[in-house]
């Protein structure tokens, strides 16, 4: 395996049983790889299957066929066929994900939400909180919010919590689903810098960015997902 | 005596006695274990000692000497009635003197005088199941006994300490027998618990309504349950018996008038009389001969 993330001939369809079993083909023959220290951006019009690809890579969506190989503990793991326990282990140690929306857990403070992935990997709680504080400060989240659960935060504030949570670990592969969608220019710039730092550290990044400015600032390669789209096959 | 209207010796028919004796033998073989038996209707209400009476009837022989006490006293209604019952149906000799008795049927006390080899103490038991307080299901309590799951007994003692600051259970204080079965010693004061331990006498427990017999053979290890930091202790009394001056015995409170006057006297009437006969006197006591006059 030459790259931390390699995708080969992946196909995905949905069968909608509640709509008379209609079958929606989403993508087919998806093949690409993400080298270490590079940021690959998924491009193409909306609805073409970009988010579905990220969700397959993270394990939220199943895969009809093909392979999703990730370098985990020095050996390739095929996430398309891995059992749940392996997927969880890969998520904990190797594969990070910054989604568009924060899944809010009641009563957990923003600081602890951010620190959690580090704690899950065995870092002491104080240390993890220090790192979390540094990141939140960098993303200009007012310190008065740190101790509060993010449920009542604005979209932009929640997104920054989410970004900090995704960037706090040194996962070797990071998936980014529109991380800058609801950020202002200043914070977008912070995220761009953070992505550059990840690249410099050798992280393989795969992202969706609708914001062209950010995309141009971070992308090493833009992959047109239209080439994999299977939508026209349906009907 | 002949004809239909006669009783068998000691009231119960021989088959019933054999059934009860088998239960007693099993109880002796498994100290502290509650043996079910086919309790009979007796010519007295439940709660008046039907269990004890059946056990006594089953072990009583023509040469036995019977003593019956109720709360330590030979002269209360229950004691008098049961004594009279056995005089009538078995024509055995009766006594109030502990040392002369071969069988002592008791409700709620163990005599102060040390029991000796050859004597049998028969307890009347209202509720034989020590776990009943917290576990109402019979199926479950049996299983708990079978598997020696006795954590619940300590829950009960824990509650006592939590509520009162000390173990406030003063009677029917649970004991563990030979390190195996937890047993309810019947509603005797915990003061008497140490007397059960390594007693030379055979101790039999009969519960008529609940249909259970259990036993402590002579020289059985009987340990009162407790916590390391709240060890088992017996009651102590501030003053000696007002009549005979005895110390280290269990005292009853006797109200003397309606102005708050009271005194504390031996609950074991035989013991008290015996001491007074020997010339011991408490601060409100009168020598026995004068009292009789």
């Amino acid at each position: 395996m030459t790259h931390p993330l390699e995708v080969a001939r992946v196909a995905k369809s949905f069968t909608m049983h509640l709509r008379d079993g209609i079958r929606l083909d989403v993508v087919r023959n998806v093949s690409f790889s993400v080298p270490a220290g590079k940021c690959v951006v998924l491009g193409g019009p909306s609805g073409v299957g970009k988010s579905s690809i990220l969700k397959m890579l993270y394990g939220n969506y199943g895969v009809d066929s093909g392979e999703i190989r990730i370098l985990h503990r020095g050996a390739p793991v095929d996430l398309a066929t891995a059992d749940p326990r392996t997927v969880l282990e890969v998520r904990r140690e190797t594969l990070g994900y910054v989604s568009q929306f924060l899944r809010v857990v009641p009563r957990v403070s923003a600081l602890d939400v951010v620190a959690e992935p580090l704690v899950a990997r065995g870092t002491a709680a104080d240390q993890a909180r220090d790192r979390a504080a540094t990141l939140l400060a960098r993303l200009n989240l007012p310190e008065t919010l740190w101790a509060l659960p993010p449920a009542t935060f604005s979209g932009g504030e929640q997104q920054r919590v989410n970004i900090a949570r995704g960037f706090i670990t040194d996962h070797t592969v990071l998936l980014l689903d529109e991380p800058t969608a609801s950020l202002d220019a200043r914070n977008r710039q912070v995220v761009v810098e953070m992505i550059r730092e990840k690249k410099a550290a050798g992280t393989a990044l795969l992202g969706i960015f609708h914001d062209e400015e950010v995309r141009d600032a971070v992308a090493d390669e833009i992959l047109d997902v239209s080439a994999f789209s299977a939508r026209e096959m349906a009907a | 005596m002949s004809g239909l209207a006669t009783y068998n010796f000691a009231y119960l028919d021989e088959q019933t006695k054999r059934m009860i004796r088998r239960a007693i033998l099993k109880a002796i073989a498994i100290p502290g274990y509650q043996v079910p038996f086919a309790s009979r209707e007796m010519p007295m209400p439940y709660g008046w000692g039907t269990g004890g009476v059946q056990v006594t009837a089953a072990i009583l022989g023509p040469t036995d000497v019977l003593k019956v006490i109720d709360q330590g006293a030979d002269d209360t209604t229950n004691a008098v009635s049961i004594r009279a019952f056995f005089q009538k149906v078995a024509n055995v000799e009766v006594t109030t003197r502990t040392k002369d008795a071969t069988i002592i049927q008791t409700r709620h006390r163990i005599p102060e005088e040390k029991l000796t080899e050859g004597q049998v103490l028969v307890y009347q038991v209202p509720i034989p199941e020590p776990l009943r307080f917290l576990e109402p299901r019979e199926t479950e309590t049996r299983k708990m006994h079978a598997l020696s799951e006795y954590g619940l007994m300590h829950v009960k003692l824990y509650e006592d300490i939590a509520r009162n600051g000390h173990i406030a259970t003063t009677y029917a204080y649970p004991v563990k027998v030979e390190g195996r079965y937890v047993m309810d010693p019947s509603p005797t004061p915990k003061f008497d618990n140490p007397k059960m331990h390594m007693s030379e006498a055979l101790q039999l427990f009969g519960a008529g309504r609940e249909k259970r017999i259990y036993a402590l053979p002579p020289f059985t290890d009987v340990v009162s349950l407790d916590f390391d930091d709240h060890p088992f202790t017996v009651q102590s009394f501030e003053k000696p018996c007002a009549l005979c001056g005895a110390e280290g015995v269990y005292l009853d409170e006797v109200v003397l008038d309606d102005r708050g006057g009271r005194m504390f006297v031996c609950s074991d009437t035989d013991y008290c009389e015996d001491r007074r006969a020997q010339g011991f006197l408490g601060d409100q006591g009168v020598p026995l001969k004068e009292a009789a006059e």
Binding site: F14, N60, Y61, P84, P106 | G151, Y158, E159, A162, F227
Partner: protein
């Protein structure tokens, strides 16, 4: 040391006469893993939980448990004494109705301390201290230690039940609709508490629930049951985000928001 499953379930089947309770259920549960069993009332999830926890005897199949000594014990072959010992030391069982899992007429402290007394603790002060500590951990003020659960709210009772189960440091906890009878706000607090405890203590848990939000929040993996059969299982995220079976799609589409 290689990690081995805590529980190995193979072909577990329970028949009620000719009617299926649960049929041919197989899975491994790993240390630290939380498994949710979801499905409608009557789908067999509670029957399955009862069979797993030896509260009900299975008709066929096996459940092997990784004992503390390292060996696997087939649960149906353990003696009753061994099973009951396991249930009050190494396992916990959280009932939907706290009254089924608590002694309502003894104090909170005794409820929590009972398992310690059952395994031979005989120091009142230490038992009380441990109980007090656990009350704090489930967010019940230690000042309530001498109150009976009768005086507690539903949420407090449920938290008390959890403390009562966890005091002996069990490795496996069974939960039957743990948030079933609670208000939504109380549910959230309980879920958060359970989630934290499971994580901190490295517990394995099997949680039966009909509430997919509960499953999403608590579990790593889930099994969907219908008519006694497991029709779909996998990573919780995947089952909820990409349900395959018609019934699972119906379940997921029926919830207001996960």
């Amino acid at each position: 040391m290689t990690i081995e499953p805590l529980l190995k379930v193979n072909g577990l089947t329970k028949m009620y006469g000719a009617r299926i309770g649960c049929a041919d259920v197989s899975f491994d549960l790993w240390p630290g893993e939380v498994l949710a069993i979801v499905g409608e009332s009557g789908s067999g999830k509670t029957t399955l939980l009862s069979c797993l926890s030896t509260r009900l005897e299975a008709t066929s199949g096996s459940v092997e448990y990784h004992m503390r000594d390292g060996a696997y014990g087939e649960l149906s072959r353990l003696t009753e004494a061994e099973r009951r010992f396991l249930m009050r030391t190494d396992w916990g069982f959280v009932h939907q109705n706290p009254a089924d899992g608590l002694r309502m007429t003894v104090s909170a402290g005794a409820n929590v301390g009972e398992r310690l007394m059952a395994i031979g603790h005989r120091h009142y002060g230490e038992i009380r201290e441990a109980a007090s500590d656990w009350l704090s951990r489930v967010e019940i003020s230690p000042s309530r230690i001498d109150d009976q659960p009768r005086a507690f709210s539903g949420g407090m009772r449920q938290r008390l039940q959890i403390a009562r189960n966890l005091i002996t440091g069990p490795r496996l906890v069974f939960m039957d609709e743990p948030t079933g009878g609670l208000d939504v706000s109380v549910q959230a607090r309980l879920l958060d508490l359970v989630r934290g405890l499971v994580h901190d203590l490295g517990l394995s848990a099997i949680v039966v629930t009909h509430d997919l939000a509960v499953a999403r929040l608590l579990s790593h993996r889930m099994m969907v049951m219908k008519d006694g059969h497991v029709i779909e299982q996998g990573l919780t995220d995947r089952v909820l985000d990409d349900p395959r079976e018609p019934y699972t799609q119906l379940l997921v589409s029926s919830i207001l928001q996960v």
